[in-house]
């Protein structure tokens, strides 16, 4: 990647712009954990040598480290998807009590519409819960500029600042004018126990935080980036973030109060604005965060969630429908025989071999967050529950306690390091009879192949001490540990069978890499082929759910897609699938 130079105007995605903003703001340290739609922020930041950037083992760890850097007097940033803030919430709620020394910005990337997420959650409420000011960009230019504003705000009031982006801002491109980096002089941490030992001095700090928030509330009344765009029509609009762009498309003549800071809200500015109009549209994606506050303040001439949906992503159409009662465009796609195209495990994915063995075992499988969530889809149908990072192991323990026979927790290598270690300790400690399968594909797959401690590489691709997962689980106290090759079905199934029969905690580690893991791309494969004369058309090869096995009168193997993993060969009882050249 070539980094843009100052003064250049570049087409940039929101996440790249945030990274550029961090660079320009003189950020010294950036940490985070991968998660769509936030991942690229840290990946791009890692290209700037001036910033020390790193993946944390999870969002809480990343948060605490960035928080430490900020307390030490330098600008620090932590980046995560919105559910990551659930993980980091403990620190996020308490740090504001003390405030910060150097600027500290917490990036939360929301995913309205759940394009790549397990739930829909409006993280603006986190800002209110933590009593932390929050800034929200609408497009890539603002995505860049607002990073600097966030740091200025953080240092002005000695507070963490939440920077809320969303999928549409992070993954949309627009023109950005690039600026220079300004180095920020480091500040000094002063040993002041009554400020920094929060639990002991919480009561006093609570009052200080309240007073600070009152000062910020006053400040935002005149904040220049909360701006009014005067229009010619009699319609008023209050909006922020991505919703602003939809409002401008649908109501180009309206007078718009565009909020940059959405917590705390500028009370008097909002009340005065609403008083100018008969009716004001509050156009905000997801929950009625602004609207509730307005109604609490006694403003009644607003149109909000009585007309606008409170779930799903907004678009210009969603706004048009709410404002004009516009009928949706005639959708003739219903006349077509449309077949869904869900994402699926790639040809050559090692998870497929694990799922085939699990399916055969008849076990109840508690899943976790990663590509292997897709094991729930037919024909594998071998992942039976999935919620959030690290939940699989505790859930499997619980199913066992609840009386379910044959339970397996499955969890990827990155997810295990993120949130699986402590539950495994708990399983051993509390005498669980739980089987945990660690699907070690040597990368963080679903978010686009990031490194983590067990890959032995840093964010920048430099060698790091590699966390040995087998040694780790043994050290935790798991005595029954097997390493199995998921492309060898006999070995894989017998490992599952043995672990399930074993009384006590057991771990199975799979040992084949993701086809996109470092060093795997560009590997030459010998594909398999179907011998038409031996094929009985029994369909067994298609029941492994590989996109490389193409349906037809006689099934065929897509030679371009095939990685030669041999799972289809092992599924064929008639010897009709052979390695190309061996026929």
């Amino acid at each position: 990647m070539t980094l843009p130079s100052p003064g250049q105007r570049v087409l940039m995605a929101g996440n790249n712009a945030i990274a550029q903003g961090a660079y320009e703001a003189g950020v010294y340290f950036a940490s985070g954990y991968p998660g769509t739609p936030s991942t690229e922020i840290l990946e791009v930041i890692s290209e700037y040598p001036e910033i020390r950037a790193q993946w944390g083992t999870n969002e809480k760890v990343a948060f605490d480290e960035a928080m430490g850097v900020a307390m030490s007097g330098k600008r620090a940033l932590v980046s995560m998807k919105y559910v990551g803030l659930n993980v980091a919430a403990d620190s996020f709620m308490v740090f504001p009590f003390a405030g910060t020394v150097g600027g500290f910005v917490v990036i939360s990337a929301d995913d309205p519409g759940m394009y790549s997420s397990q739930n829909e959650q409006d993280n603006r409420y986190f800002a209110r819960l933590a009593q932390v000011p929050m800034i929200e960009p609408s497009d890539p230019q603002e995505a860049k500029d607002f990073v600097r504003l966030a740091f200025e705000l953080s240092e002005k009031f000695s507070t963490p600042v939440m920077y809320r982006t969303s999928m549409r801002v992070s993954h949309s491109k627009g023109m950005v004018t690039v600026g220079e980096r300004s180095e920020v002089p480091a500040k000094t941490f002063v040993k002041d126990i009554p400020n920094w030992v929060v639990p002991v001095f919480a009561k006093g700090l609570r009052a200080k935080l309240d007073a600070k928030l009152a000062r910020i509330s006053e400040y935002v009344e005149t904040y220049p980036y909360n701006r009014v765009e005067e229009g010619s029509s009699k319609v008023g609009v209050i909006t922020s973030g991505a919703s602003y762009t939809y409002a401008k498309e649908i109501l180009p003549d309206a007078t718009v109060l565009k909020l940059a800071i959405t917590y705390p809200l500028p009370k008097q500015t909002l009340i005065d604005f609403c008083a100018r109009f008969d009716q004001v549209y509050v156009i905000e994606e997801l929950e009625p965060f602004i609207e509730e506050q307005l109604r609490f303040w006694g403003v009644t001439n607003i149109i909000g969630k009585d007309r606008f949906p409170h779930t799903g992503e907004f678009s210009p159409d969603v706004v048009a429908k709410a404002v004009f009662d516009e009928e949706p465009v005639q959708d003739f796609s219903g006349e077509f025989d449309l077949i869904v195209r869900p994402p699926q495990l790639c040809p050559g994915c090692p998870h497929r071999g694990a799922f085939l063995a699990l399916r055969k075992s008849g076990a109840l499988v508690n899943g976790d967050i990663g590509c292997y969530t897709l094991g729930c889809l037919p024909p594998l149908s071998a992942n039976h529950t999935t919620f959030c990072m690290g939940a699989s192991i505790g859930n499997a323990f619980g199913f066992g306690v609840g009386g379910t026979d044959k339970v397996v927790a499955i969890i990827g290598d990155s997810t295990f390091v993120h949130g699986g270690i402590q539950p495994l300790i708990d399983v051993v400690y509390n005498g669980g009879n739980t089987t945990v399968m660690i699907l070690d594909n040597r990368t963080t797959g679903m978010t686009g192949h990031q490194e983590h401690p067990a890959t032995g590489m840093t964010l920048q691709g430099k060698e790091a001490p590699r966390l040995d997962l087998v040694k780790l689980v043994k050290a935790i106290g798991v005595e029954h540990v097997q390493v199995a090759n998921p492309f060898d079905q006999k070995e894989m199934y017998s490992a599952v069978k043995e672990a399930l029969e074993y009384q006590g905690p057991s771990v199975i580690m799979t040992n084949q890499p993701c086809i996109f893991a470092r060093g795997e791309k560009g590997r030459k494969y010998t594909p398999f082929v179907v011998l038409e004369d031996k094929c009985t058309k029994c369909g067994a090869c298609q029941r492994i759910g590989c996109p490389g096995v193409l349906p037809g009168e006689v099934p065929a193997i897509d030679e371009v897609a095939c990685t030669g993993c041999s799972l289809c060969e092992q599924a064929c009882k008639f010897g009709a699938i052979v390695r190309k050249g061996d026929a």
């Binding site: 087409l11 769509t36 739609p37 991942t39 690229e40 394009y115 790549s116 497009d139 549409r168 993954h171 949309s172 491109k173 627009g174 023109m175 602003y244 762009t245 939809y246 401008k248 498309e249 678009s315 210009p316 159409d317 949706p328 465009v329 005639q330 959708d331 003739f332 796609s333 006349e335 077509f336 025989d337 449309l338 077949i339 869904v340 195209r341 869900p342 994402p343 699926q344 495990l345 790639c346 590509c371 969530t373 897709l374 889809l377 037919p378 024909p379 679903m446 978010t447 686009g448 369909g539 298609q542 029941r543 759910g545 590989c546 996109p547 096995v549 193409l550 349906p551 371009v560």
Partner: protein, 193 residues
């Protein structure tokens, strides 16, 4: 939303819609348009249905294209053309690569790939082009240039000068693959049924 051209690129994760959109955006910027572009990352990229939205004009706020709003749709795969055609404006252009990529339900025998996609679409859309982009790319020297063949086909319906497209190819494609992709672009541009 007058004065803004909306283009959708739809396909299957891994087909190269993102590189195609980069070429398109580069050309549009070179023509002096404001450009907004939006794409899907994450889980859907694992062989799922993907869409890239490109909007260009004098002033563009939203990066999002709604149903019935696209001036042009380039479908990298037949079934994806089926899925997204209702995003086309009346009178809009639909360009379809006649390639079929089997989705999971067909793969496991739970559904059959529809047989009449191209005929059905031709009925619905007056400005309709279907082309064998994969074959054209293979003939040009690299099956992976299918996306560039489709950009060539799109270029016929856009009023950008040829030099702009050539410059975009030079900017966005590695030098050693440039010649193949130039041929692929030309094959798409000149293709006639």
């Amino acid at each position: 939303m007058s004065g803004v051209t909306n283009i959708l690129l739809v396909g299957v994760g891994g087909q190269g819609t993102i590189l195609a959109s980069k070429i398109l955006c580069y050309a549009a910027l070179d023509q002096g348009y404001q450009v907004k572009m939006s794409e899907i990352h994450g889980m859907a990229q694992r062989g799922g249905s993907v869409v890239t939205q490109v909007r260009m004009g004098d002033q563009v706020f939203s990066p999002v294209i709604d149903p019935g709003e696209a001036d042009m749709i380039v479908a990298f795969e037949q079934l994806e053309a089926y899925r997204w055609t209702h995003f086309l404006k009346p009178g809009g252009v639909l360009i379809v690569n006649d390639q079929k990529i089997v989705p999971l339900p067909v793969l496991i025998g739970a559904a059959a790939y529809p047989g009449s996609v191209l005929a059905d679409l031709e009925q619905k859309v007056s400005r309709f082009v279907a082309l064998p982009a994969l074959n054209l790319a293979t003939e040009a020297g690299n099956s992976k240039s299918t996306n560039v063949v489709l950009m060539g086909a799109l270029a016929r319906f856009m009023n950008f000068p040829q030099e702009v497209w050539q410059k975009a190819l030079e900017e966005k494609i590695p030098a050693k693959l440039l010649e193949v992709n130039r041929r692929a672009f030309e094959a798409g541009y000149n293709w006639q049924a």
